[in-house]
């Protein structure tokens, strides 16, 4: 399935997202691409009522999750009952339209 591309350092194994040209842990420059998917743990979240220009809605839920392979990422949360630590299933959907272009990103269902 479609998802983000994260990176694992070939030297020390550090997992990173988004991309860096030097490893955040050891400064090495070779990385293996990884595609996190499946179950993820909710680390924190917020319900946003005042959204930026171009997003015509209220109450969008945003969160940061940790996938089983250690990748941490932000995404839309599609769940009514929210609790830090809960398990969510990851998905991929249009998260914003910017300049008429549909932009895809992570979403999570609980």
């Amino acid at each position: 399935m479609n998802t983000i591309t994260a990176y694992q350092c070939e030297n020390c194994g550090q997992v990173m997202y988004p991309a860096h040209l030097r490893c955040l842990n050891c400064n090495e420059r070779e990385f293996k691409e990884i595609s996190p998917s499946g179950e993820a743990k909710l680390l924190t979240y917020t319900v946003v009522n005042e959204l930026p220009w171009g997003i015509d809605e209220r109450g969008r839920i945003l969160g940061i999750v940790e996938f089983e392979d250690g990748v941490k990422a932000m995404g839309l949360i599609r769940s009514e009952k929210l609790k830090i630590g809960m398990k969510l299933d990851s998905g991929w959907e249009v998260v914003r339209v910017i300049g008429g272009e549909r932009v895809y990103g992570l979403s999570f269902q609980g």
Binding site: T44, V48, W53, L62, V95, R96, G105
Partner: protein, 394 residues
């Protein structure tokens, strides 16, 4: 390095200023700082403008050159310095380095932003441009949303409650009532924003768990300082307040890549650098201006800067220790919460307030016998932070 004196300070009231352009505001504040120093027709070596986004907010760039033109400061060097919400702090730091190195004897530093030229959701979008374009911005994240996610973690880890946050906003709006330059001049109460069953009507959710009164307003404004060598300051008879400590540190762009997102490492490192350079400890500070864009940040910064142990900052504000007259007055100006936060102006406005406090010119909000002052300017969501120590010389 040679000593650097803040010889002149000036600012214009922060508010919605429909009549003035950004350059008008920068010029008014700059002129006030030069007049405060009694600089007259003395040349200024350089003009540094702290500004985040004049291109996006006002459709104008090269505003430092425009400011020199407006003030007839030719042929002064002119640069606009951008570091998000810490643009003002970065401009001050660069002005300090330029004078401390001996390259210039006088540098005019002006911070300013005109945000109300665009409607609220546009301003929110422009400010959100500082987030990571692919990993954050596309989701519609805002700075209040970043702060909301941070607040949930801080509440869970340290037992901070919405009542603790409300204590910060009530204190800072009380202080703002004593500051004629503050944007929000309004008394608020615990009942009105939190405990009354209808309080949510006054104080709706912006980004859970943060409500309206946890967030700074969107403001227009400018503030300025004239930094000079000690020699020139003595000639101007304005040698009283020096910048004696500066720190600046960075952290990861995204919140999620920090091993512990509640740990504001850049605040800790920048503060330690500033205290180390000044040769003093946090307990030697008499007045502090912290970057309370959100109430949680005043609490978290007061801990990470070393004024309180982790988890104790919320209790200190609830006990009144950070009020004017308390053990360590924080944000006597009203902070970003009440003074307002025209992004590029804030770091400079913090220094202006400290100079007024250290000179004894702060009027009704004067902190008694203040000798050492501290300010913290928080860029991004803690990914680029500046700290300053100012001292009144005997």
């Amino acid at each position: 390095m040679r000593p650097v004196v803040v010889s002149g300070v000036g600012m214009i009231p922060f508010e919605r200023r429909d009549e003035d352009s950004l350059v008008d505001m920068l010029a008014m504040a700059g002129l006030k700082a030069m007049d405060d120093a009694g600089a007259g027709d003395r040349p200024v070596g350089a003009v540094y403008v702290g500004n985040m986004a004049s291109g996006l907010f006002n459709h104008q760039v090269s505003v430092a050159s425009a400011l020199v033109d407006r003030l007839n400061l030719f042929p002064a060097a002119a640069d606009r310095i951008e570091n998000g919400p810490a643009s003002g702090g970065s401009a001050i730091k660069n002005g300090f380095l330029a004078v401390a190195s001996g390259f210039y004897d006088a540098v005019l530093v002006v911070g300013g932003e005109k945000m109300r030229e665009v409607i609220g959701p546009k301003a929110t979008d422009i400010v959100a441009c500082m987030t990571h374009p692919q990993a954050e911005y596309i989701y519609g994240v805002t700075l209040p949303a970043m702060a909301g996610m941070f607040t949930h973690l801080y509440m869970e880890k340290y037992g901070v409650t919405r009542k603790h946050l409300a204590h910060v906003s009530i204190k800072n709006q009380d202080n703002g009532l004593l500051n004629p330059y503050a944007h929000i001049q309004m008394k608020i109460t615990m009942e009105g924003i939190l405990t009354h069953p209808q309080a949510h009507i006054n104080n709706p959710v912006v980004a859970e768990p943060l409500h309206l009164y946890d967030c700074c307003p969107v403001s227009d404004g400018a503030a300025a300082v004239l930094l000079t060598s000690l020699e020139m300051a003595n000639e101007l008879k304005r040698p009283d307040v020096q910048i004696v400590g500066i720190g600046q540190a960075t952290d990861t762009h995204t919140l999620q890549e920090r091993a512990d997102p509640t740990d504001l490492k850049a605040v800790t490192i920048a503060s330690q650098q500033a205290f180390g350079m000044a040769g003093i400890q946090p307990e030697d500070i008499h007045v502090a201006e912290l970057h309370d864009a959100f109430t949680i940040l005043e609490i978290a910064e007061s801990e990470h800067a070393g004024f309180f142990p982790k988890g104790q900052g919320a209790k200190a504000v609830a006990r009144g220790e950070t009020r004017i007259g308390g053990k360590l007055p924080i944000n006597p100006s009203g902070g970003l919460k009440a003074r307002g936060h025209p992004v590029g102006a804030t770091g400079v406005a913090q220094i202006v307030e400290l100079v007024w406090q250290l000179r004894g010119e702060a009027g009704e909000r004067q902190v008694k016998d203040a000798v050492n002052g501290f300010s913290l300017n928080f860029g991004g969501f803690g990914n680029n932070v500046l700290a300053f120590v100012l001292r009144r010389e005997a």
